[in-house]
């Protein structure tokens, strides 16, 4: 038999998505999204402080439907990362590792971050001058 390089058995290509892995991937993705969003927030503040027409351009872009969609997703990323981060703090204290509790806290994070996101937007959109 000739020496051949063996194939590697498939992993992420076939492994079933579960609440455990899906929330972990979402935590990583929301962290990346927040890093990008953080840069944009700083640019927005710098332009606002500097004054001039550049601020108006960025502000209008963020106020467009697409800009608002991004802001909505960033809001969710913020609350998800916050809530799941608190979940991680419990784990760091070796609490909540029973399988049922892993699932309970996972769904709690999903529900809490969704509710907080929607609530934030309901309040924001009902402020005077925001349509």
């Amino acid at each position: 038999m000739t020496e051949r390089t063996r194939p590697r058995s498939p992993h992420v290509q076939i492994y079933r998505p579960q609440l455990t892995s899906v929330l972990s991937f979402t935590h990583r993705l929301s962290g990346i999204a927040l890093s990008v969003g953080g840069v944009i927030l700083v640019v927005w503040l710098l332009l606002a402080a500097a004054g001039g027409s550049a601020f108006g351009g960025l502000n209008a872009a963020l106020g467009s439907w697409f800009g608002r969609l991004l802001l909505f997703l960033w809001t969710f990323a913020l609350f998800f990362h916050l809530c799941n981060g608190i979940r991680h703090l419990f784990w760091d204290a070796v609490l909540g590792f029973e399988l049922a509790n892993i699932y309970r806290s996972g769904w709690l994070v999903v529900v809490a971050s969704t509710v907080l996101t929607v609530l934030t937007w309901v309040i924001a959109m009902s402020m005077p001058g925001v349509a």
């Binding site: 063996r6 992993h11 290509q13 492994y15 455990t20 590792f97 892993i102």
Partner: protein, 279 residues
């Protein structure tokens, strides 16, 4: 929605695999192609389809997935029974590891319908049709469902998984109170099937340096042992950004353990012990 025991089957059917291309993160030699169809015998009534990963090291073909039609009326109750039936009656070249057929040896660990479990303790009637059967994830495949576990066992050997202690006095044994013995419950039962390590995304990406849940559970088993005197030494060996801290508490390990153990918790215990040591 709430999974209470690792033996429960996943219930959501929306997302059976991650939305990545089939060849994602896989060298071309590892990409799986369609295989052949093995029909059921004439007159078979209760047929289940089994999609089984095949790889023949003696050919030049890439791995493939064959579909076997198995008559459940003429088959034992467990997935392992179906695999043995295929080997006996349909295709004798089908290759897999098995030994005890009762969940103590860990040989028949494989990826069944997308999650890792022992073929001998998974009942066929619990499994959706078609049943997909792959080798444990992220191993070099020797043949069909047999993966090369040399790396996993080398990682196990690296933690030196034995009692490290000075010799006891000649006239007495190494005593342990019932309470001290209880500290090992949930850890000594590990059968080293590597279902957890194979199902750990962090080990998929960094398996060369990250020890993975099975080995880290064993590391904790020795840290938790009142008779062991090498706690500081063991912690020194583990305190490493890759060996231990590539664990991001994903917890696929605890979800998949066929013995119902909790590798995720064991790793959290190690991290806490390291933190306590810092003072």
């Amino acid at each position: 929605m709430i999974i209470r025991r690792s033996e429960e089957q996943p219930r959501w059917t929306l997302l059976r695999r991650f939305p990545v291309p089939r060849g994602f993160h896989a060298a071309s030699r590892s990409r799986v192609q369609a295989g052949r169809e093995w029909p059921a015998p004439e007159g078979a009534g209760n047929v289940k389809r089994m999609q089984v990963y095949r790889y023949d090291p003696e050919g030049d073909e890439r791995p493939r997935v064959d579909t076997f039609h198995v008559d459940l009326d003429e088959c034992g109750p467990m997935l392992l029974d179906a695999l043995i039936k295929i080997k006996n009656q349909i295709d004798p070249t089908l290759t897999f590891r098995r030994s005890c057929r009762e969940g103590v040896c860990g040989s028949c660990a494989m990826n069944i319908n997308g999650t890792n479990w022992l073929a001998c303790t998974r009942a066929l009637d619990e499994l959706d049709d078609p049943v997909t059967v792959y080798p444990l994830n992220n191993l070099d495949v020797i043949k069909d469902l047999v993966g090369d576990q040399s790396h996993a066992f080398a990682q196990y050997a690296a933690i030196r998984p034995w009692l490290r202690a000075s010799p006891p006095p000649k006239d007495r044994e190494r005593l342990q109170s019932p309470e001290q013995r209880r500290e090992l419950d949930g850890y000594y039962e590990c059968i080293l099937c590597f279902c957890c390590t194979s199902g750990c995304p962090s080990h998929w990406w960094n398996g060369d340096r990250f020890l993975g849940p099975a080995v880290l559970l064993q590391a904790w088993r020795w840290l938790a042992d009142s008779r062991d005197e090498a706690t500081g030494e063991r912690l020194d060996e583990l305190e490493d950004p890759f060996r231990l801290y590539r664990c991001h508490t994903i917890l696929n390990c605890t979800r998949t353990c066929p013995k119902g153990l909790n590798p995720g918790k064991a790793i959290a215990e190690i991290k806490r012990k390291l933190l306590e040591r810092q003072g």
